[in-house]
Symmetry: C2
């Protein structure tokens, strides 16, 4: 260490929250008796360095435990080789699977991944997005919580690549990867109708959520297409809690002409409903309500009966989004794209229970 006669504050006191500061290329250069630039060449594997010199530099690097500071590199080069991912909740299996699919693509492209959970809070989404932008991520993948993404316009104008997944952006144009929400919901409900059901309930997430709205629409369309009336009491949309689902379910089943089948708009609602149906069955209620849920979940096949679902292709959703993003980063300047990923009805038993 060269003795800097700066007002070098106390050494053993509380230096930042770190230990000693890290060696720089300059330190390595001094140690090896070469110029800074030569070290840079060795570190980056650039040609034009004699093996002997390279060896000397490498020895100094090892001795000092030098590791290039990518922050400085990034500042110079402008590209951070990192992308940001904003979702509702990384703890939710759906998003964590999505996250993994995205990470795998990012890895292939040598990019690191920032992740953040918005908890469906627009302010939090914005905060995260801007924090990532301040870190100058090359791209952003967003599962939107906000209904106004204009705050991203300056970033996008400045070169930020942005892809929206699961739900479209609001008030701006951008690449988007979605599941076939309407078609999927329609297929699920149509399946119940084919099974002979006429009174089918729908429980979904809050209507302000895009996917929730579309799946509800799919439900309505399937019913209409079959010429079936929908009683208002059959439909419930709210943030999924055991309480709200319980209420909705009891209401649907308490009618003189109760629903004989139930379609649920997402994962968490499905689980809450299944839990409640189980409780009702154990309480000696008639039961035998047919069930189809939107979105697959682990162990759906192990429940009894197996849970029939409209499965989303989460891996393809994530891959599609990430690939689109990296195409943009590679220079693609075409108009905003919109990819729709098909869903698939998986029959496991619960959706094949006959009415009555």
């Amino acid at each position: 260490m060269p003795a800097e006669d700066q007002a070098a504050p106390q050494r053993g006191d509380v230096p930042s929250p770190g230990g000693r500061s890290r060696p720089t290329m300059q330190d390595v250069a001094a140690h090896a008796g070469v110029a800074l630039k030569t070290v840079s060449r060795v570190v980056n594997g650039e040609p034009g360095v004699t093996p002997a010199m390279a060896e000397r530099v490498r020895a100094a690097i090892d001795q000092l435990g030098f590791r290039r500071n990518d922050g400085a590199r990034i500042l110079r080069k402008g590209q951070t080789a990192s992308i940001g991912l904003i979702m509702e909740d990384i703890g939710d299996p759906f998003y964590s699977a999505l996250s993994r699919a995205i990470e795998d693509v990012a890895r292939v492209h040598g990019h690191l991944l920032f992740t953040g959970s918005s908890d469906e809070d627009p302010a939090r989404e914005r905060e995260l997005a801007l924090a990532f932008c301040a870190r100058r991520v090359d791209g952003l993948i967003v599962i939107p919580a906000s209904d106004d993404h204009t705050y991203l316009l300056p970033e996008i104008a400045a070169g930020l690549a942005t892809v929206f997944v699961d739900r479209p952006p609001r008030l701006i144009e951008a690449d988007t990867v979605l599941s076939s929400n309407i078609d999927g919901a329609r297929a699920g409900v149509a399946h119940l109708i084919r099974g002979g059901h006429r009174r089918i309930g729908y429980i979904g997430d809050a209507p302000r959520i895009y996917t929730s709205m579309l799946r509800h629409r799919g439900y309505r369309e399937a019913m209409a297409q079959a010429g079936l009336r929908v009683d208002d009491s059959w439909v419930a949309m709210a943030a999924p809690s055991l309480g709200s689902v319980r209420l909705a379910l009891r209401r649907m089943l308490a009618r003189p002409a109760p629903v004989t089948a139930l379609f649920c708009g997402n994962n968490r609602v499905s689980v809450a409903a299944l839990r409640e149906l189980r409780a009702l069955a154990q309480a000696g209620e008639p039961g035998g309500v047919a069930f189809v849920g939107f979105d697959d979940f682990e162990l759906a096949d192990l429940l009894y009966p197996g849970v029939t679902v409209v499965a989303q292709d989460v891996a393809r959703l994530g891959q599609g989004a990430a690939q689109l993003l990296f195409r943009r980063l590679a220079g693609d300047r075409g108009p905003a794209e919109r990819i729709e990923v098909a869903t698939q009805l998986i029959q496991r038993g619960s959706g094949e229970i006959p009415p009555g």
Copy 2:
């Protein structure tokens, strides 16, 4: 990839893969007719700027869509306000829950989170860790895959805070947060023994994995403590695949004196085993094997019978690790700590099936 190092990168032409380059503080200063430093003061809310001047600067910021480049700030300040998290697979519910708990603590401390999946590959873990270090994360939280963490010593010496979760570090000292693996497994197996079981099988992950080894030990200890012999054919440890679990299970059940109960060492093994048990039952096999699994999972209560588990407190695991990390970042220089988080036996039915 775009032609990067080819032609001379013209400034106004096709700047990297971006749009126009972003405004800097200098640009804002010029636009507002003030000095760079004044802009800095406004952006950082430092005192000593007249309201009028601050307003002028703010207007310029808005007009130009300026956003501070944190990369430069970090380079100057030395702290990145980010931490790295390396786990086996962010797509696995256990790790994603852990991840979420950590993110929440990080958020409170104003830190961003890099996440990466090692896939249980030591080389990949190392690669991720060093990539994060090159980005100068302030701290690292690692669920180890490697059996040699000495590669982190230079980083730690240079001030990197490091906490290991779920498994301890190898060949270095560092803060660690673990579940009570031995105690938990012992409790689970003892529960089966109390239920009257004498022949109890164990299926776990590969023995090289720390948690797997300890839970296996807990199983052995519980058996020994009860004076029960363990037949070699009752124990199987391998990467959890449906095939390997199937084989192990059939072997245990095919004996003249088959096991009457099964203890599984983790989540994925449990699910594979339950799936296989279900298949056997449907094939008309005797069935009625009691079951206890290490680690809870969603819907365990909805299966029939409900699945008895030794639950880990994932949230506390994550919180503990993150809090420890931030205590280090706050300057705590005490010796490496080791926190053990208790597990809890949750009886749901499968573990209470009597033998025979």
